[in-house]
């Protein structure tokens, strides 16, 4: 079980820490962190500099588990944030619910472009479609045409050479 714990912390650490930091902390702290430590090892987390994403780790459990030797120079901030993740999650669920009900599958939605273009065409005075030139239209065709041109030119070159 201890070995599993080690494996997990190692994987987590590897996933979390950028290469540069790892190299900096290579010498003493690395040997230390390899030690089996049953407590969770969030000690490196504040040094990532994006403490915001780790809000749900209780900051009280952060242990300073370093040799005190190498210390990456201060381009990080350890922030203790208000415990706001639960309300954020609820809000996100609520917003997803509204979005699914109004725009999800089963609602008969169309893009604003198509809607107003059909309206323009059905008006007594016919007008042009909205956003007549949309760069995203015919992308596939344009890509195939570009590829064909390239291959044609290449064939011409090989045949003349």
């Amino acid at each position: 079980r201890r070995r599993r714990q080690e494996l997990f912390t190692e994987q987590k650490r590897r996933k979390l820490l950028p290469e540069a930091l790892l190299q900096e902390l290579a010498a003493a702290p690395l040997a230390r962190a390899e030690e089996p430590s049953p407590a969770p090892a969030p000690d490196k987390r504040p040094e990532r500099g994006s403490a915001k994403q780790r809000k749900d780790r209780i900051p009280g459990q952060v242990k300073k588990d370093k040799a005190g030797g190498t210390r990456s120079k201060g381009n990080y901030i350890a922030v203790h944030l208000k415990d706001g993740n639960l309300t954020g999650l609820h809000q996100q669920t609520a917003k997803d619910f509204i979005r699914d009900q109004l725009y999800g599958p089963g609602t008969n939605r169309t893009s604003a472009n198509e809607f107003f273009s059909t309206a323009n065409k059905k008006d007594p005075i016919k007008k042009a479609a909205v956003q007549f030139v949309d760069k995203s239209w015919g992308l596939e065709k344009k890509q195939r045409a570009a590829k064909f041109t390239k291959s044609w030119v290449a064939r011409k070159m090989t045949s003349t050479l």
């Binding site: 609820h90 609520a94 619910f97 109004l102 725009y103 609602t107 809607f115 107003f116 909205v130």
Partner: protein, 658 residues
Amino acid sequence: MGEFEVHRVRFFGLVPAGVRCMAYQHRGCRLALARTDGAVEVYNFAANYFMEKAIPGHQTRSVEALCWAAGERLFGAGLCGDITEYDLERLHPAYAVDGFGGPIWSMAANNDGTQLAIGCEDGSVKLFQVVPGGVQFEKNLDRQKGRVLCLSWHPSGTHLAAGSINFIRVLDVRSGRTAQRIMVNYHVPKSKKRECVVWSIAFLSSGTIISSDSFGRVQFWDWERGTLQDSHTVSTSAALSLAVSEEEDSIVVGTSAGATYQFQLLPVKTGGQEKRWVKTKPFQHHTHDVRAVVHTPTALISGGLDAQLVIRPLMEKVQKKSYDAVLRKFTLPHRRLVSCARKARLLLFQFSQHLELWRLGSTNKTGKDGEVLPLSRMPEHLLQLKSKGPEHIYCSCVSPCGSWIAYSTASRFHLYRVQHEGDNISIKKVPGVPKLLLPAYQLQCASDSGRLFIASDRGSVHVVQLLEPGGCKHLHTLRPPVQAGLCHHCTVPTYSCAVTALAIHPATNNLFISYSDQQVGLFEFSIPEKQYTAWSRSVQNSGLHRLWLERDSPITHIAFNPKNTSQILLHDVYMLCVLDKSLPLPDNNALLVNQSTLKQLSEPARHRQLHAFKICKKFQPLLFADLLDERCLVTVERPAADINAELPPPVQQKKFGT
């Protein structure tokens, strides 16, 4: 009069946020409106539907329900789980009380305005008491699984109807228990296996509950027996909102397809006793979802996700055929969002979370009346300044020389120094900005770019001196009643309507005011003499032209011609007007918009028909118009088609032949 070269600007990409919910206050004839970006606006219906207050939004704030309680207090509740009271004097949220039930989906006040009920995400309905100075939690009513999406009080205040997913509950307020539970997902078309979401609900005093759901049905239930009395399918998409009139004989329903329908309680046989709800009038004013409707005694009001507020007066309630009976649609805000730096030919556009600085293009050709001149230099987007923090920008301005930009959010004021080096531009924040009473409602730069006037809280005006290399110094603060230093000149007599625009002429020191009530549209007040000018009195005596009084939108900007003191430029959304004070005023029989006829007349005939109002309706819808110099005008338009192209997806409407 003269010829102007007009810079027609259409690159201001303003997309107003959609309307999310509304609440009407009967006593004061005011409508509170909340948008999807968290902004709250208050419209005064008595003053020609002018937007008198606007509380800017917030990145994290979403308002799901608004209601007026205890007279003039406005409360809002949203997905962040708080009940917020808005301070309408200082234009910011006064405080927020946590509901402790998760995101709040709905809120309703009882008839007396003493209690607020909120419906939460976890399925509970909570009661709060409105006490002076705040709201206090009273009790939790019965909780059942399923988010409470809509709430309605019985007019007597004894029962609450709560609509959820697949069912409606009626709760007894005193005991807190569920008195009745009605399932609404019966009679559902077999092809749709979705759940039935009850989007809005109304409780009538006769005991009928009206519900509108996601299958586009409006259903009438008897709450005591729990049975369905009547069901109407109004649309294939969801019926999102519902409002009942005060007499309870008419309701208005808004759907996802942008249509609104009116149902009326009519007797089955004329003069008979039995009455039935009948769908009477369909309206298609919107293109997108109608998420909020309000039924006032004389009109149906609907607000949709296409950012339009539509007020449709009911013909049978209108006493006499006048301009009051006309349909009104408001899309563009009643505030000035563009500032112009006249000397530097720059425009500053205010968005909700950033500012854009553009340089106008130029042409070196001349042409005749009505010609479009080719540009020798295109307009350039110089700068995009993002506002720090989640709050939305309240007001902004740029100095006439183009080197200072200031903007204010609800809690901070920012001042920047802009350096123009040839074609490059650099911007630096000015440190040491004085501590001001925020929020700042209006910012105005003096014409010599030396001082900045900030109108802020409690009627105080701060004067800040802008120093050359990039600093600023707080000079004075004018507070009512004003103390020595800068003497207070005079007070303009107050008028019952809100002021929509005001400006002081640099040469003559006359104050020109335009009020929201088009009835008495314009005033000119002479500051040195402390009284209305003779011209202003003659305008009031002869009255304004009928067509001028029947304008829909308020005047948002007044500008002056520096060379000619008698010319004033005004604009509202649909027209641009140059007022020439030296010419006679038109009487009611004369043609008001007579520029095109004047062009065809000969010289002497023209002199006879010339009058003071020179109106141009060529540039519509106008967001801003200003005089750059004697020969140049700049107009910022926002065509409706451009706004439509940026709106969220609407419901597809099948038309024959497509």
